[in-house]
Amino acid sequence: MKKFAMLAWLVALAVLVVSCAPAPTPVPPTKAPEPTKAPEPTKAPEATKPPSAGPIKIGFFSPLTGPTAADGQSAFNSAKLAVKLINDAGGINGAPLQLINYDDAGKPDQAASVARKLIESDKVVAAISGAYSGPTRAAAPVFQQAGMVMLSAYAIHPEITKVGDKIFRIGTLADVQGKVGAELVAKNLKAKKVAILTIDNDYGVSLTAGFKAHALKVGLEIIFEQKYSFGEKDFRPIIEKIKAANPDVVYATGYYAEASTLVSQAKDAGLKAQIVGQEGYDSPQFIKLAGANSEGVIITTDLNRDSKEAMTQKFLTEYKKAYNEDADMVGASAFDAVQVLAYAMKTGGTTTDGIIKALKGLKDFKDCATGPFLRYTADRELVRPVSSQIVKGGAFHLYQEFTDPAVTTP
């Protein structure tokens, strides 16, 4: 009896575990609103006739499980939103877009196998990474070798675009964002002494490199530097050291989870220095988790919520309407990746060469949430404005926009 009961339990467990495991699951084309999400009451039924050609498949991957799932979900939601808006407006020259999505669980190896799947089984025409730098770096060579265009939405590690001529970036290159950070600290905050805290991964290390390179030029003195691990929850020992070093500014790379912990613990410990972050902080989650401790924190980011651009405001309101939560930088970048890819396919067709040609010809593109995008450089990096935002009254607001080509050109 006991044996049977035990066996039954193990089997039940195994089944449950397997069914819940982060296996890649393709989602159906997102023309219909998701049953779990609030339906869109005001949208008129689709006006366009079903096109003669089948849907155009574009691949997408992001972490939907694991510790970075919140960002992955945000990116995926925004990509779906973009596809829906594009299809509602008639698709790509009449053909609807279909988003094929997989979960990379935040793991590079899973991202690489997902990339293969998108290419081989799903036969997508191009792909978008809604993933972090690590997984994106793993997937990029797979697309490059298959001769397929991949856009990196918000992964900012320099190596990603260096993989080859098929890999383009939407977000601001880490070097540029780091540079903007140093510019901001020196020129706007008029600070001298800086402490640097680096999250020990592709994202943090490349940002810090960019920051330090420019810091020398603008006369900043780096008086303290330390790394910490992804997911760190206890910055207290580091904060004690920073207090002793007494900098004007702490330039701390990280994501909103670490950042909210850091700023809260810094406030608790009575650290007075201004904390400057980057786009990793850019999420309503940061303000929600850090509460009042987030007030006054300044970040560099791609999303300017106070922008007057029509598409920015449209994205922000449509996102809120569709998902009943505020959009973030990650989402805006994924949205823009779909917008840019759709533009390229409209003008250049759906072949890789056509897409690349169209991307290279992109000029002053405003159909995006984080634009305007001036052009692509020869290294397939966008020349684009970089925003800095300050938390005020529980929301991100424009602090300063950086458009000086001397600073923002990759």
């Binding site: 575990v17 694991g66 910490y228 691990s229 509460g291």
Partner: protein, 305 residues
């Protein structure tokens, strides 16, 4: 200033390690099972506490116009709820799983445990429970005072953690060392078969054991959730292995050893991060300490030979 402050911070960190690891060491003591799913109970405790907190707070608000007081009251209601639910969860884990795997190959229990841990995390990540995002647990210090001395400062939340840990340890100490069932527990952890032969209902002892240990883990989940102002589905990931380091370091099955090991580990981590800088990630420090200790003292700090 800095050393005293680091020490006091380390003691708070140690308190959270203690609460998580004691349950694990108690389970190991009796069952000799590596109860990985304990970290799932910890995350669930935080989830239940947060749920109770968010549920109760609106009811507290109209009676207490001071929002701070309302949130303090909500916290003190949410903590015991989380502890009881976690305790029941732990007891059920034993009754539904380990009772059947116990005495079989230890790998079976381990596999079941790892599977269960994954299952709990995946469930917690479902949108109708915690969802993929971190949720704040804004209970602050729950009415505890701030302690300021010329050498160090203890925030109200830190006072809260120290206070709750001390009380819970006292309760567990009394149950294990002063009551009849505690003697039965000690007997069962030394030799379950023999304990039965002197009339101890080993099943009762083990269920109690799981209940107490899981209750502490639930409390730890709540306290860490408040300390970091963050509750999320994968918050058990780091504790799932770090608690093992603590338990092995302290000597498998030794409750006092677990307490000492938690303090040793928290202090080492804090000072390594403070003075050795970026040398290595803090979780690697835990394993380094473990390896070093096991080289010189294979049975752990206070373990039985």
């Amino acid at each position: 200033m800095s050393i005293a402050q680091n020490l006091s911070n380390a003691m708070v960190l140690a308190s959270t390690y203690i609460l998580i690891a004691i349950g694990l060491t108690m389970v190991y003591g009796v069952l000799k099972v590596l109860h990985v799913a304990h970290a799932g109970v910890y995350a669930s405790g935080a989830f239940v506490g947060l749920g109770a907190f968010n549920f109760v707070r609106p009811f507290c608000t109209p009676t207490l116009e001071d929002a701070r007081l309302a949130s303090n009251l909500a916290f003190w209601i949410s903590l015991p709820i989380a502890m009881i639910v976690s305790g029941v969860m732990g007891a059920l884990i034993y009754l539904l799983i380990y009772r059947y795997t116990w005495g079989k190959s230890p790998t079976i229990s381990l596999v079941a445990s790892v599977g269960l841990f994954t299952l709990i995390q995946d469930l917690l990540q479902k949108p109708f429970l915690l969802g993929p995002r971190q949720q704040p647990y804004p209970a602050g210090g729950a009415g505890m005072p701030r302690i300021e001395t010329p050498w160090f400062m203890i925030t109200p939340t830190q006072v809260l953690i120290l206070f709750v840990t001390l009380i819970l340890l006292a309760i567990v100490y009394v149950i294990l060392n002063r009551t009849r069932i505690g003697l039965g527990w000690q007997a069962a952890s030394l030799d379950p078969e023999m304990a039965a032969a002197v009339g101890v209902n080993v099943t009762h002892v083990i269920v109690l054991n799981f209940f107490l240990g899981s209750m502490l883990a639930g409390a730890a989940g709540v306290l860490v959730g408040v300390y970091d102002n963050m509750v999320f589905s994968t918050m058990g990931d780091v504790p799932s292995y770090k608690a093992f380091v603590v338990v092995v370091l302290g000597g498998l099955g030794s409750v006092p050893g677990t307490i000492v090991a938690s303090i040793v580990l928290a202090v080492t981590e804090t000072f390594m991060v403070a003075f050795a800088g970026s040398l290595m990630p803090r979780d690697a420090i835990a394993f380094l300490v473990l390896i070093l200790l096991l080289m010189f003292r294979p049975r752990g700090l206070l373990g039985r030979a």
